[in-house]
């Protein structure tokens, strides 16, 4: 199948048809699920009422715009961020297991957020800063521990799994040592949850993620080029020493921003890039399908978490763990058999 050639003046791009179709389908799915999310609640709203609420009319506009819309927005945006973070590390490690939640970056970001809460008893700013610092420290630790005259993708992943286990234990320990009130708040959050997310919690996250997505869009061609191996990457003009730290920053930044607001939501970053890649029939691990798949997955998981035991709303992380865990075991089995 010939790809689509888009040209206007000096601006040009090449898009594979299947990638375009898959992306459009994912956007449609995200919109449909988004509408469902706005309709669903203790009281169902009709799509007509939702539209009326957007137009500023109707009785349920507060419920829809102030309660449900931030939650749907958070699910879509955070899902996309996790998809991008997963694609970043899967491209860097050239391995489907290389995902921030597997190699301990979510756990590290959460450690940072916990320490910020317990030690600094800080607000959203301290939480976000702690989360990003924790994620970066975990990434640095994993990188240094797996360095052995170069970086091997699988070695990095195995060490990352160990770091993840250690940090998860540390996190439990911090929660146990914390004061009761703090500990209870943390425990609800530790599985990764979008319950009660409002616009106030989201604002800074939206701004940070928009910047990170923009940066990733600029870095994406070089990142895909670097997957050809260091030799081809350098000889075709990729500045690897500048690219790698920036790409890691995007990956950690996406993970940590989500963790700061919603806690560690695992397995979306692992699964979304691979599902997106297969849907798009694309080479390597492309970012746009990864982001769109992540958005659809997290929103679907969050809706399921709300509906399953309604009116009790489960943390969305419980859903992603239940479904993603089985995928992880299958992948682990497949990858270790390959090498």
């Amino acid at each position: 199948m010939t790809p689509l050639v888009l040209r206007a003046g000096r601006v040009s791009a090449l898009v594979e048809r299947r990638t375009a179709v898959a992306s459009a389908a994912l956007v449609a799915a995200a919109l449909a699920l988004g509408l469902l999310g706005l309709c669903y609640g203790a009281e169902w709203a009709t799509p007509g009422e939702v539209l009326a609420a957007f137009a500023g009319r109707g009785d349920s506009s507060v419920v829809i715009l102030e309660w449900r819309l931030p939650r749907v927005t958070a699910a879509l945006l955070f899902g996309a961020a996790l998809g991008v973070a997963g694609a970043v590390f899967q491209n860097l490690t050239r391995n489907a297991l290389g995902s921030p939640d597997i190699i301990g970056l979510d756990a590290g970001a959460y450690t940072g957020a916990l320490l910020a809460t317990v030690l600094l008893s800080g607000g959203a700013g301290a939480l976000a800063a702690g989360s990003i610092a924790g994620g970066l420290l975990a990434a640095t630790a994993v990188y240094l521990l797996s360095w052995k005259s170069g970086i091997n993708g699988l070695r990095l992943i195995v060490i990352g799994i160990a770091v993840n286990a250690i940090l998860t234990a540390v996190n439990s320990w911090i929660v146990l040592r914390a004061e009761l009130e703090v500990a209870m708040a943390m425990a609800g959050w530790s599985a990764g949850s979008l319950n009660g997310v409002g616009w106030d919690d989201l604002g800074p996250g939206i701004a940070v993620l928009a910047l990170l997505f923009l940066l990733m869009a600029v870095l994406a061609p070089a990142t895909h080029q670097s997957v050809l191996g260091d030799e081809f990457a350098v000889s075709t003009g990729v500045g690897l020493n500048v690219l790698r730290p920036l790409v890691v920053l995007v990956g950690v930044g996406c993970t940590a921003t989500v963790t700061a607001v919603a806690g560690p939501i695992v397995f979306v970053a692992l699964a979304a890039p691979q599902i997106g890649r297969r849907l798009a029939g694309a080479a390597g691990v492309p970012f746009v399908p990864a982001a769109l798949t992540g958005a659809v997955l997290l929103l679907a998981a969050d809706l399921a978490a709300q509906m399953l035991l309604a009116p009790t709303s489960l943390p969305v992380g419980v859903m992603t763990t239940a479904v993603g865990g089985s995928y992880f075991i299958w992948l682990l089995f497949k990858e270790t058999k390959k090498s």
Binding site: S12, S235, T236
Partner: protein, 258 residues
């Protein structure tokens, strides 16, 4: 001798381990240069320093008088193309997609597929004889086909200089000669080809200029017919031998006498 690529007082090292020191020579423009020598004599290391895969411990590699380690990465990649010994193809990639990756140094964020890119990829696939494989997945190809796809990718880069690190390894005899003939044709069309070759007889047959290395140093350089003698080959490869004219081309041919 005209030369755009030259090496000045070049010392190459991996950490403390010095591979070559004080190398100085010019690569002739528009010629096929072959670098030969025993295993681990520093020939691949030398080639890697031309494309900044290794920064010199001392001295410099100059292109048009400019130190390559100070040239902007994409600007250098529009002048010198490099075919490494091994490379990774992303999973699921099609031949035309991989060849298009050679256009990376010519592309910008907004101009990701110009008519120039399209023409260069089409021509490169035709030159490397992979046009009929365009829509095949790279992982489904045979080793020989795959090597031609990588060559096409480097050709799509459209650089006046072409560096090849043992391009014929893993290929059967017929494919080896096909590939070398392709490089000779590119030389005839005006490109400068620099190849690390294992087979000294192939090097003598195809190269205009030979650089013989031993333990990181250049022991002889010049046209094969002028420099290749039995004592030189014995010195470079530690192999007693006879040099006779190749019955087909008349170029020097080495016959081991062990």
């Amino acid at each position: 001798m005209k030369s755009r690529l030259s090496v000045r007082n070049l010392t190459l090292a991996y950490g403390e381990r010095v591979i070559s020191s004080g190398l100085t020579f010019d690569v002739p423009d528009g010629a096929f240069t072959a670098i030969v020598g025993a295993n681990a004599c520093g020939k691949s290391t030398l080639l890697r320093s031309f494309v900044r895969l290794l920064s010199p411990a001392e001295g410099a590699v100059l292109f048009d008088g400019e130190d390559v380690s100070r040239t902007r990465p994409k600007a250098l990649a529009r002048k010198i193309g490099f075919l490494p010994q091994s490379a990774d193809a992303p999973e699921n990639i099609l031949v035309r997609q991989l060849v298009a990756r050679g256009r990376y140094p010519h592309q910008g964020f907004l101009s990701a597929w110009s008519p120039e890119d399209e023409r260069a990829v089409t021509e490169a696939m035709a030159a490397a004889n992979v046009a009929d494989l365009a829509d095949r997945r790279v992982e489904d190809l045979s080793g020989g086909q795959r090597q031609r796809v990588w060559v096409a990718m480097v050709l799509a880069q459209e650089t006046p200089y072409l560096l090849l690190d043992e391009p014929t390894t893993y290929l059967d005899l017929a494919h080896q000669y096909q590939l070398l003939s392709l490089f000779a044709r590119l030389r005839d069309e005006g490109r400068t080809v620099i190849a690390v070759l294992h087979d000294i007889n192939q090097a003598c047959r195809y190269a205009d200029h030979l650089i013989a290395m031993k333990s990181g140093a250049v022991v002889a350089e010049g046209p094969p017919s002028e420099i290749v003698t039995a004592p030189l080959i014995e010195k470079v490869f530690d192999l007693p031998n006879l040099v006779v004219p190749d019955p087909h081309t008349g170029t020097p041919m080495i016959v081991p006498t062990v």
